[in-house]
Point group: none
DNA sequence: CACAATTCAATCATTTTCTTTCAAATTCAT
DNA sequence: ATGAATTTGAAAGAAAATGATTGAATTGTG
């Protein structure tokens, strides 16, 4: 791959993710660590990004956001481990659905299975999927400006034409009584549709999502397997009564 | 192969791919590496592209700068005028379909109508449409790597749920007997579907497309109004017998 | 504080790409 | 045709990019 091409992709990734890890870039761009490091140095010299330990970040943020940024980094690491584990569930030849959103996005660099068919409603996933030469389908629909997700009837109708080996979703809240929830009803409807299109449904959620409830219900707990890094034994036990829950420890 | 011809092809490739490798060009144009390198140097001197290690990339030039270049950007200028005129056909409140491809892409900067709903199968149009705050819908489907167009049954099914006030298409060939044609059968099928979804169908085509025939038929001439800058009186007359044709002169 | 684990910068050998040069082939005007 | 100008392809050495390796620096953990 050409240097220019890599630089372009790195900057595009940064736009959507704010922070990228070197290892992610190594995977997505199939280049060596050395090359990626050189790329980041060059882009930093051109003032296109800021290098940080472990990767690079946008150099846009104000002082207030900096502290938030540190938390974000930590949270990202958690999410990253969850995503990495989830990616290992994908096997050669699978047809999978990848929900829009940053949580699921983090899976992509770790996908190593071959001969995949991926369907997604997340425009932000596209560059990475195509860079990995994965056979990618988009659902139709209305584009939600903020998150670049495809939603609405178009998305739901498109989805209903597919069946998946595995379905990976992100949500905002997980609650014993209220199940999975997310703020936007339109997005919830898409997720609710996807959840019925296969036997193996996985919801990825770091520990901050537990006991949270947001506006729109996606489904009941038992309709998906939860993949998380939550380790509080009480919480785990509580949810294990209702559904499968896989805890990523390492 | 003539130098001029190679230059034209190189620039066309660049338009769709953003970046091309020298080796690619060597194969496509069956010329030696030396010749390609010379071509790229010349085109760089003319400010048509930027050389990068391993190939060449598009330099993001603004429209104004383009028109400053005179005779040499003639083809681009032509396309631009056609696109500009086509954009004026769009009225406030319209629901329109924009086909994938560079010809139609050029319309977007000139769209000034308000309260639009745009449906497209071209991923490359998205950023510009969203930047203009246009209510944008994507059709679903399989992503064609090379052109970033959505194609296949998914795209066709998605499309069939809509009806449009105006439909704008690009094609590769226009011929009195064979109608509108384009190389990829999958893309042709999408265009053929779109053409039936409204009364006002416009095909944008600069003069190089006339009398050309490519692999896959999209539709008969009479199914769309041609917008062009072709000025040869005989050609115009010949086509006017079959369908509406609007000639952009200024 | 000390330990292990990452991450980092620097360096080197290898491969790829670039520039320059030159001779053969082609085009053009006499 | 003949010779001049242009275009082309090949070759050689220079430059750039790449991946691997090393030891130093940084981070997280007990």
């Amino acid at each position: 791959m050409l240097t220019e091409e890599r630089h372009r992709i790195i900057l595009e990734l940064l736009e959507t993710k704010k922070i990228v890890r070197i290892q992610e870039l190594v995977e997505v761009l199939s280049s060596s660590e050395s090359t990626i490091r050189r790329d980041l140095s060059q882009l930093e010299r051109k003032k296109k990004l800021k290098r940080v330990h472990g990767g690079a970040s946008l150099l846009n943020q104000k002082k207030e956001e900096l502290s938030i940024d540190e938390k974000l980094t930590k949270n990202l690491e958690e999410k990253d481990r969850i995503a990495k584990y989830a990616a290992t569930l994908i096997k050669d030849g699978d047809c999978i659905y990848l929900d829009a959103g940053t949580t699921i996005n983090q899976m992509i660099p770790y996908i190593s299975a071959h001969d995949l068919t991926v369907v997604t409603n997340g425009l932000t996933h596209l560059e990475q999927l195509l860079a990995k030469n994965i056979n990618t389908y988009l659902v139709g629909g209305c584009i939600k400006q903020k998150t670049r997700a495809l939603i609405g009837h178009g998305a739901i109708d498109s989805l209903n034409k597919y069946r998946f080996d595995k379905i990976f979703l992100g949500v905002n809240g997980i609650h014993v009584d209220y199940g999975y929830t997310t703020p936007d009803p339109e997005e919830a409807a898409v997720k609710a549709t996807a959840i019925n299109l296969g036997q193996n449904v996985f919801v990825l959620a770091d520990h901050t999502k537990f006991h949270e409830v947001t506006f729109s219900k996606v489904a009941d707990l038992e309709e998906a397997t939860i993949i998380t890094n939550e380790t509080d034994p009480e919480t785990i036990e509580e949810f294990r009564k209702k559904t499968n829950i896989e805890v990523v420890t390492e």
